[in-house]
């Protein structure tokens, strides 16, 4: 038994090392391809990796950049918080109430595959040209996976767990804390992870249309200014942020699923 545990821990470590090596190899490959493209196309249309990183560092240090970054972050965090609260509430409801779940699930799935950008003007008309429309649009993107994964997690709880709880005469609060929460956590976490990414996409999309502030606005502004370095630097920042957070969340996700 103990040797098996040790062996699996060792293979887990080996796997982790392998994953880190693959990730680094990928980053190096992307940088090489980028540099190659730069040498091939030239600096009219493309900035080199080094120049882009330098420009990004300059942006991060400048005072004019900070308000835009803050605006995007506030909209994103608020949108995500709303998506989590709404998604968990709706997901639990649809998971527990079987009929509602069966009626609504395909409709929620259908909303997932819609081009939701087209709904943004409606949100703009309803909320006005401010940060609230941005938040609402981020939430609209992020809430759907959270609903779907929570719904599935709640629906698939093994009945025996709940029955055991009833036999032990647990109070509703105890049931939630010691049965519901641990049993559904891994699946719900996956929903929260996907919701995180989609909220970010929604927030940026909203900023790219009819916005005066935020990273998305700066990106679109760069087209008019034909500032390739700025466009690439901001794109790089967004990509690095999204990829880094998503890698971290994926890692936690795997851990949680392994525990079961």
């Amino acid at each position: 038994m103990s040797t098996a545990v040790v062996a699996s821990a060792a293979s887990g470590r080996a796997q982790r090392m392998q994953a880190i090596r693959n990730g680094m190899l990928l980053v190096v490959t992307i940088l090489l391809v980028w540099q190659g493209l730069y040498l091939w196309i030239g600096d009219i249309a493309l900035a080199s990796p080094l120049a882009t990183v330098r420009y990004a560092a300059r942006l991060l240090a400048s005072d004019t950049f900070y308000p835009h970054l803050r605006d995007t972050m506030i909209a994103f965090v608020a949108g995500y918080a709303l998506a989590v609260v709404l998604g968990l509430a709706i997901g639990f409801w649809l998971g527990f109430h079987r009929l509602s779940g069966e009626v609504m699930e395909p409709m929620v799935v259908a909303v997932y595959s819609l081009p939701k950008v087209t709904l943004y003007p409606i949100l703009l008309l309803a909320f006005g040209l401010g940060i609230s429309a941005k938040i609402a649009f981020g939430t609209l993107h992020g809430v759907i996976p959270i609903i779907l994964f929570t719904l599935a997690a709640v629906r698939n709880i093994k009945p025996i767990l709940l029955k055991t709880g009833r036999t032990l005469k647990l109070t509703p609060l105890q049931t939630v804390r010691s049965i519901l929460f641990p049993a559904t956590l891994p699946e719900i976490f996956t929903g929260l992870r996907v919701g995180f990414s989609l909220t970010l996409i929604g927030t940026l999309l909203a900023e790219m249309f009819a916005s005066q502030r935020g990273l998305g606005f700066l990106l679109m502004n760069g087209i008019g200014l034909h500032n390739v370095e700025m466009i690439m630097a901001i794109t790089l920042m967004i990509v690095v942020f999204a990829a880094a957070v998503s890698t971290l969340l994926l890692h936690i996700d795997h851990r949680l699923h392994q525990r079961l």
Partner: protein
């Protein structure tokens, strides 16, 4: 019609009815939205006038090109990649985090490189769609039973013949899952980028109508896009179900 379908229709009807009531009662003002029955009327008028035919053709055409490219490139790339373990292991983190990265953030860059023609929009649709095809094709190829591969080897099939006669047909239902996503993503990519900045297409017409306060054009167009994507999705889901049923799954 099953009971569940009836309930679903009831939910949609209730939602539209609520909107209608709110609009007629004045809780939603006309600058925000006209009542749904007027949207339906404008929808018929707009389509009958033929004013949007060019935009519809452009958007669906570009989405089809993006989807076609994603399908061809995705399936062949996945078939190649399936045999190369080291490369696949290197690309795995890319596939895992790909959809966490906002692909639309690349749109301004693509505009600067390719100009404001159709190319950046098609490319965004392609970039969104292709990885779904690759990942699902790989997933299908991973599930090919060894006995099929061995049989192919007994018959001395070459790599290409094996792919076209054995492994890809076996993976078809999984590829179809990728296709379903790719259709949705290609449409999202094209419409979304048209909406952000472009010179034509349904997304452009919606943003144009929005900036000019033409709700009588904007809402019918939004409905049109929703109808198109829901219809496409429903068709592909039904097809997928039939394929899986034939395999005796689900």
């Amino acid at each position: 019609m099953t009971r569940l379908t009836i309930y679903r229709l009831l939910v949609v009807a209730a939602a539209i009815g609520t909107l209608e009531a709110l609009c007629l009662a004045g809780a939603i003002d006309r600058i925000t939205m006209q009542p749904p029955h007027e949207i339906a009327r404008d929808f018929v008028r707009l389509l009958a006038s033929g004013r949007m035919n060019g935009a519809i053709r452009k958007t669906l055409g570009n989405a089809a090109i993006a989807f076609g490219m994603a399908l061809a490139a995705g399936v062949s790339f996945a078939a190649l990649l399936h045999g190369m373990r080291a490369l696949r292991a290197t690309l795995d983190p890319l596939f895992a985090t790909y959809y966490a990265v906002p692909v639309f953030a690349f749109y301004p860059f693509l505009i600067v490189v390719f100009g404001l023609g159709d190319v950046p929009q098609v490319l965004i649709g392609f970039m969104l769609a292709v990885v779904a095809v690759i990942v699902n094709t790989l997933n299908g190829l991973d599930r090919v039973p060894r006995v099929l591969v061995k049989t192919a080897r007994v018959h001395r099939l070459g790599r290409l013949r094996m792919a076209t006669a054995i492994t890809l047909p076996f993976a078809a239902p999984y590829i179809l899952t990728g296709v379903k996503l790719a259709v949705a993503y290609a449409l999202i990519g094209v419409v979304g980028s048209e909406f952000i900045m472009s010179r034509g297409g349904l997304g452009y017409e919606i943003s144009f109508a929005y900036t000019n306060f033409e709700n009588a054009t904007m809402y019918p167009l939004i409905v049109l896009i929703l109808v198109i994507s829901i219809a496409l999705n429903a068709f592909l889901t039904a097809w997928e179900k039939r394929l899986l049923l034939r395999r005796g799954q689900r």
